[in-house]
Symmetry: C2
Subunit: 232 residues, 2 copies
Amino acid sequence: MDGSTFPIARSTLPEAAAERLRTLIIEGELAPGAKLNERELSERLGVSRTPLREAFRMLAADGLLVQLPNRGAQVVALSREDVRGAFEVMGALEGLAGELAVKRVTDADVADLRALQVQMEAAHATHDLPAYYRINRLIHDRLNTLAGNAVLEQTYRTLNARLHALRFRSNLNPAKWDQAVSEHRSMIEALAARDGAALRDLLVGHLRAKQQAVLDSMDNRDDKNLLGGRQP
Amino acid sequence: MDGSTFPIARSTLPEAAAERLRTLIIEGELAPGAKLNERELSERLGVSRTPLREAFRMLAADGLLVQLPNRGAQVVALSREDVRGAFEVMGALEGLAGELAVKRVTDADVADLRALQVQMEAAHATHDLPAYYRINRLIHDRLNTLAGNAVLEQTYRTLNARLHALRFRSNLNPAKWDQAVSEHRSMIEALAARDGAALRDLLVGHLRAKQQAVLDSMDNRDDKNLLGGRQP
DNA sequence: CTCTTGCATTTTGTATACAATATGCCAGAG
DNA sequence: CTCTGGCATATTGTATACAAAATGCAAGAG
């Protein structure tokens, strides 16, 4: 027999529960700061407490929950500082992804990305925000995959999930949106030109703009107290 | 009452078990690729299987274990590619740490680091490898703390633990050692001069050299099959 | 002799029972 | 009226029992 394997996706209850909880957190169904009662949640998910507690450990490692000994788990409430820090790290990771991607990207990859860019600009032109975010994410994920570094990709995804739990999608002013789309165009050109340094700088700058937008929106949200439980 | 808290360190069994296992893995007591039998381990650690399984989930999230459904957990066996990737990410993280540290470092911090540098050079002069590694780690940790970014620090520590499980300490040739010590001197000077870009480049280069040394040592170890279970 | 197939054993997965800790309320002192 | 202390309740922590799956071995077919 050759070495190839075809493992079927068999998920255990802890994994399934973690996945479900992850979605509930990111969708905002479970709000930041919310206390998670084990018995109640296990009944709602239809599993016993044992696998649920394993799910908690996984999500805590991802930074989506915090666990206090003898006091249970609660959805993380990111402080302004946490968000700033997470975006700084994301910037470094995406910058690295850009540098690495340049070394491995093929013309076919560039063509794919250009196609995505066209779709993104279409979404921009029609003010289709959900489509824009979806394509935006596709492009960034693609770039990370192109980097060919599994550790990077995993770290990136984990951090991204944590930030998505903020649900900062709501507000994006027109000027910033125009700017972001234009930056994306430049990024793809830098990639096509195999200019790693330029791509890195663009990505870091892009992330910094996003960071600023998110921090501004945190200041202006009426539920900001839910997001900033830790600082005064 | 003011808002300050003084929580005493109360650890739960899963955390304690994870900590113990982490040590066993990093010390090499549990070798890469080793299968972990739940019943046996729980007896050796003196806990039941339930908290042990939670510990497994934590370590798996840290990348120290891999868990296969219905087939238990085993100590991760890092492939050459994994090591390359992890060092690339470490480089990006340390580079960021350097840039951020420059913005916050005080003269007192610089003085502390210079003192550590002196100790490091003493260890180098007397060929005290363990002391060298200890001080080396102190310096890098200090730099990361100086960056003032909790997300960065946590990501850095996790990744570092994974690499430490390789136990690559064994071989370091004299030329590389001299080079590393000299690079450290430059790093502290760049920090003292608040030159973030220079510090970043030094750190990235430093990591790249370390990466190369580790990859070389992996090629030359007779137990390399234990480290590279995944690739041919 | 080799390969398959079925069974016994081992090991992991999940639920539940019991223990330890935390929480909230009420009574009583000041 | 406020604060403290102690008890009842709720919740989390851990061990154990049972279920499901994988593993290893041996017997039989080819």
